[in-house]
């Protein structure tokens, strides 16, 4: 189970829900991001064999998709954890090895070992109902790893956990993933997960691969609005050119701005929430973005912007949801880059 070099080549399709092709290095940690309904969970379920799919997933010439789920050597940590409620934590973790023919005593010892490594060895006798969310998630991860899988699939492992618990588990998980020799797919909504845990990011939308690359590259040059939002950026797409700018560069006013702001949009405040020292506004752009008369070319795909304003400005301008506003951004604050050929 060492991270031998090689590729995992995936071509997978689920009619109406998913159509992807990508190659990732074996042993890598791959973050899978995208909005709800993008196909992230479908991809995970297809790789695990729980969702019928066509295509192939080749590891060392073995096609994973051709095997029944029981023989795939895939460890899946479900979003809802799905620990067996009638079995103790230890029996839950021993279940995989036992099902694969390991003798009872040996499987139990291995299970205890995995629970110890995940820091929940003292809870081995407890039933899932007697565990907190964080403890249950550790047991679920131990259960998946105890099968010594080729592929570890983590479906939003930090969802539903307290912020502090999630932070601690994230740090530990990084260590376990480093020790784990196989390939990991980590479905997440959190840019932090993608940036801290992953070697590689897949951005999904509408069941298709919109962007793939190292986390730093995806964070610096996001191609989709969802990926941009995850890293706290606005993106405007003009055909094959992307313009990205941070929410702090957006100025908000009640009247049409004058002066040097080249890009300005009329919109309606949808939400306002504290974000650090600022107030982060989400501004809906009903008519879509309007670029200045200089270009006169409508951009496509964008429906909203985020803007960070000071609390005093929020008060002075009464920026509550439903308020019509103008948003503007200076050309100098915008980073522009091309959409790579074939993406999008």
């Amino acid at each position: 189970m060492s991270g031998t070099p090689g590729e995992l080549a995936v071509r997978v399709a689920v009619p109406g829900r998913l159509d992807l092709a990508f190659d990732v290095p074996r042993g890598a940690v791959i973050a899978v991001v995208g909005p709800n309904g993008a196909g992230k969970s479908t991809l995970v379920q297809a790789l695990a064999g729980l969702q019928p799919a066509t295509g192939s997933a080749l590891i060392d010439g073995t096609d994973l998709l051709a095997l029944p789920p029981q023989r795939r050597r895939v460890g899946l940590v479900f979003q809802d954890r799905r620990l067996f409620p009638h079995l103790s934590a230890r029996e839950n973790v021993a279940f995989g090895p036992r099902s694969r023919g390991v003798p009872r005593a040996e499987a139990r010892a291995a299970a205890q070992d995995w629970l110890d490594r995940l820091g929940v060895g003292d809870l081995a006798e407890r039933r899932p109902g007697e565990l907190s969310g964080g403890q249950a998630q550790r047991v679920a991860i131990a259960r998946a790893l105890a099968c010594e899988p080729e592929l570890l699939l983590l479906d939003e492992p930090f969802v539903g956990l307290d912020v502090g618990v999630a932070a601690a588990l994230r740090i530990e998980l990084a260590q376990h993933l480093a020790d784990f020799g196989g390939t990991t797919f980590l479905v997440t909504h959190d840019a932090l997960d993608a940036l801290t845990l992953a070697d590689h990011v897949l951005v999904l939308d509408h069941g298709r691969l919109e962007q793939a690359g190292p986390p730093a590259e995806v964070a610096a040059r996001p191609l989709t609005e969802h990926a941009a939002r995850m890293v706290g950026l606005n993106v405007i797409r003009e055909r094959t050119r992307i313009r990205a700018f941070p929410p702090s560069a957006v100025s908000v006013s009640l009247h049409q701005p004058e002066g040097s702001a080249r890009h300005r949009w009329q919109g309606v405040v949808r939400s306002a929430a504290p974000h650090g020292d600022a107030i982060r506004l989400r501004i809906d752009l009903p008519g879509g973005p309007q670029t200045g008369p200089q270009t006169g070319r409508p951009a496509v795909g964008e429906r909203s912007l985020i803007a960070d304003v000071t609390p005093s400005a929020t008060r002075d301008l009464a920026l509550s949801p439903g308020r019509p506003v103008w948003a503007a951004v200076k050309e100098t604050a915008i980073t522009s880059y091309d959409v790579p050929a074939g993406a999008g």
């Binding site: 729980l50 029981q70 460890g75 899946l76 809802d80 067996f84 279940f95 995989g96 099902s99 099968c147």
Partner: protein, 267 residues
Amino acid sequence: MTARTADPLGRVPVALVVPAALAVALLLVPLAAMVAAADPAAILDALRSPALQDALWLSVLTSTLAMLVCLALGLPLAWLLARVAFRGCRLVRALVTVPMVLPPVVAGIALREAFGRGGLLGAPLLGATGFAFPYTTWGVVLAHVFVSLPFVVISIEGGLRSAGQEYDAAAATLGASRWTTFRRVTVPLALPGIAAGMVLGWARSLGEFGATITFNGNYPGTTQTMPTLIYVARQADGDTALALSLVMLAVSIGILVALRDRWLVPG
């Protein structure tokens, strides 16, 4: 039946309380009247009669055997209905429920045509082994199984469905075969539903009368169960029938309560 006065949602509607109370009365008054009418001496006499002891033992024995057969055959069928989308699945489920709506006498006649000495399966069976179901204790068990199996299958199927198919998926990703998953995950999680189905089937067998007497007659010691004994006693002597009925009531309640404590407590 008293509604909690402190219910934060307000008073319980009279329109619901009155019919509910009527329902309870309708179920309890006949039983209470029977208890009130009984003569304790007659009950003691009845308890001492060998006919009752034989019939009671036969009822418990055949109902228990029928329950075990229903479990052995019904659990796999319920699993197929709950977990496998096979062709004709809906048709099978509809067929399974037919004996539930069939008058038990008709069930007895149907059993005769199938397993009687000259029946479709009964004749070859008799030729091959010299054994025939009618008028034997095994015939009683067969009649019980026929009328109880639908209740057991439907009840267990409900238990398997509510036990959560998602755990089966989790077991599959951990490498468990479907058989292992069935044994180690599905059945343990559906145990309350399975136990409820068994109790229901057992109770249905205990009260079975029509199919049993039609298929097996009424021979003390081999086919005379409590319901048939009570029916025969009623023809001759109402007081004896009343006493026997009370014994039956006490046994039924006693065993249901015992099973409830042991099997049906949630958790």
